[in-house]
Symmetry: C2
Subunit: 358 residues, 2 copies
């Protein structure tokens, strides 16, 4: 059997995630340009658990060795094993000016500067709510993207969960008519409301758990929503249902992030079927690596995989997500506004390798 | 009734294209920043026929006037009519370095330079095959994108229709193992084969009409395909079926462009349903404005809409398309390799406003 096929089958069996030859190839290609685990996860664009498991298997075969510093290097027998298998060192052709996002921040320089000053005092990410916030450049790039697409200026914006402080960046831009944040974390609610009041922004934050129905005054109220949902399929469906229920109807838009680290392409496909089928929206943009997250303190302590190559501090912002934009074609019955008792954070692809719940 | 709603209904009735308030808003927003028809089409990201019809209706209401030079300007009564309707001048936040594509060409400078020299002698776009080629920067950005995603180096690439000369740019990069062009136009076949032979590239071009089944030796042969299909739903389905039939299977990728000028978001949704449902692929990227086309000579003569504001030479590369990347999850029965007698170029959203066929 083909080398990559053999590893793919072993990984699929151990992780429960469908894994292809191509997925293994992506991990091996990344391993040819870096020995740092977190960079491999970022470059390979594969579920965290697939990358961990692939490297474990390579170690069992004696094809890689892990140094005291956690560095992963191919052994001579590993190099021999992959020779002639068409595995090329991973190449990156990302625009350095926009970090691959495709948007420019001309005219938003002052917004970025003031946002950084404000965000310096933000509450830190905590594990209870699966938090992890994006870089200030990412937050302000979101403002640029929404504005470019006509979804911000003069519009009513719902921010569903806002550890990224999108609401404050939107407020600083002076573009939206109104911004409402629905958020579960009291620390963030207080922080956002205090800044909004001090800066005289049309922004308010209210407590909300998205497993509850959307407050009735917000059903059909907004032009645009943005959210960064947990990535179980159940959580994605509930969270995006809330966003869609909040919109006025046809022509309105929603934005959300989706990763490879916690969602296989199979899960991406299932979500896409839900979006374009049941929810009858059109996906207008999928911008890879748009959202780049600041490393969060609870990452290493929370991981179940106590492996020497995993337990190294990330040397860069390794956790990225693609930005989706969806646009509503028509209001559909399928978007229900009912309570949902769903598992938010844990499936076989979740990053926090089984340490919560299950 | 709301102003935008009223225009939307009139446009939908005349064009046969479902049109929303939001679509009209996009046209009006664009009209607030430019009086040049082709720039409005580009900025509004709407079907050509929707833009034409909206402007006609605005003219009938006396809200715009068209100058001798074809410039479209709001009249005082037009300005009054849209005042307070929440219509804001269109804003653009596009990265200037990559033109919004998100890819960088570092390391491909020489490929771009040589590609421009070679492409200077290319056959011109002709109407018989609905041709219209992209800028050299677009072609080389495609090479960067394919290489970044691991779909080019050491891989077998099918280029299905190649007036953009992607095959030659791929050859110049030295990355692919093999490139096959299937193309109907003898002029392009000869040009590509001559250059490939002279430059000693692993590139060959063969004559093929995509309404015919894919030649059997190419079924399941390639790692990657790229195509720029005509945009009737039928043509999209047939063309993408050929591409998918050419791939080895799971993990392989396809690339194609899709416009707003010839495809409403409703058509985008139908295509997306086909892709993620029947074809069981995952859409991994949709990069807006990635493909930027050089204006083609037959544009104005071919248009049925003989309107003074339309019959002006475009002052910029107004025709753009979004780049889709799809990845195969599994081989599916739904991808048939049978002859198709389909209408390639004409539907109610096609650019060539009924002047061919129907």
């Amino acid at each position: 059997m083909d080398l990559k096929e053999e590893i793919a089958q072993a990984v699929a069996q151990e992780t429960g995630i469908e894994t292809t030859k191509r997925d293994i190839e992506e991990v091996l290609s990344s391993l040819l340009v870096t020995s740092h685990f977190w960079e491999i996860v970022q470059l390979a664009r594969q579920p965290f658990n697939v990358v961990v498991c692939t490297i474990k298997i390579l170690g069992q075969k004696g094809w890689i060795e892990v140094g005291k510093d956690g560095a992963i290097n191919l052994t001579p027998s590993g190099q021999k094993a992959i020779e002639g298998k068409g595995i090329k060192p991973k190449k990156v052709y990302r625009c350095r000016a926009c970090m691959g996002r495709g948007v420019g921040l001309e005219g938003l320089e002052e917004v970025l500067k003031r946002f950084k000053e404000i965000a310096a005092h933000r509450p830190e990410a905590i594990i209870e709510y699966d938090q992890g916030y994006v870089t200030p450049e990412t937050t302000v790039s979101r403002i640029a993207l929404l504005a470019d697409r006509g979804d911000l200026e003069g519009k009513k914006l719902l921010v569903l969960g806002d550890d990224d402080l999108v609401s404050l960046a939107a407020g600083l831009s002076g573009l939206p008519q109104e911004v409402v944040v629905l958020e579960i974390d009291e620390r963030l609610l207080n922080f956002i409301n205090e800044v909004a009041q001090r800066e005289n922004m049309p922004v308010k934050a209210e407590r909300y758990d998205f497993r509850q129905p959307l407050p009735s005054q917000y059903v059909g109220y907004f032009d645009t929503f943005i959210t960064d949902p947990p990535e179980t399929l159940e959580a994605l469906e509930v969270c995006l249902s809330r966003g869609l229920a909040s919109l006025k109807g046809e022509g309105c838009a929603g934005y959300f992030g989706l990763t490879h680290a916690e969602s296989s392409l199979k899960k991406w496909n299932r979500l896409q079927q839900l979006l374009v089928g049941k929810f009858k929206v059109t996906i207008t943009d999928i911008i890879e690596d748009f959202n780049q997250y600041v490393n969060w303190d609870y990452l290493l302590p929370s991981l179940k995989a106590k492996l020497p190559f995993v337990e190294v501090e990330p040397q860069m912002n390794w956790y990225h997500s693609a930005m989706y934009r969806i646009q509503v074609l028509e209001r559909v019955e399928a978007v229900k506004n009912e309570p949902a008792a769903c598992e938010l954070y844990v499936d076989e692809e979740a990053l926090i390798y089984g340490s919560q719940g299950s």
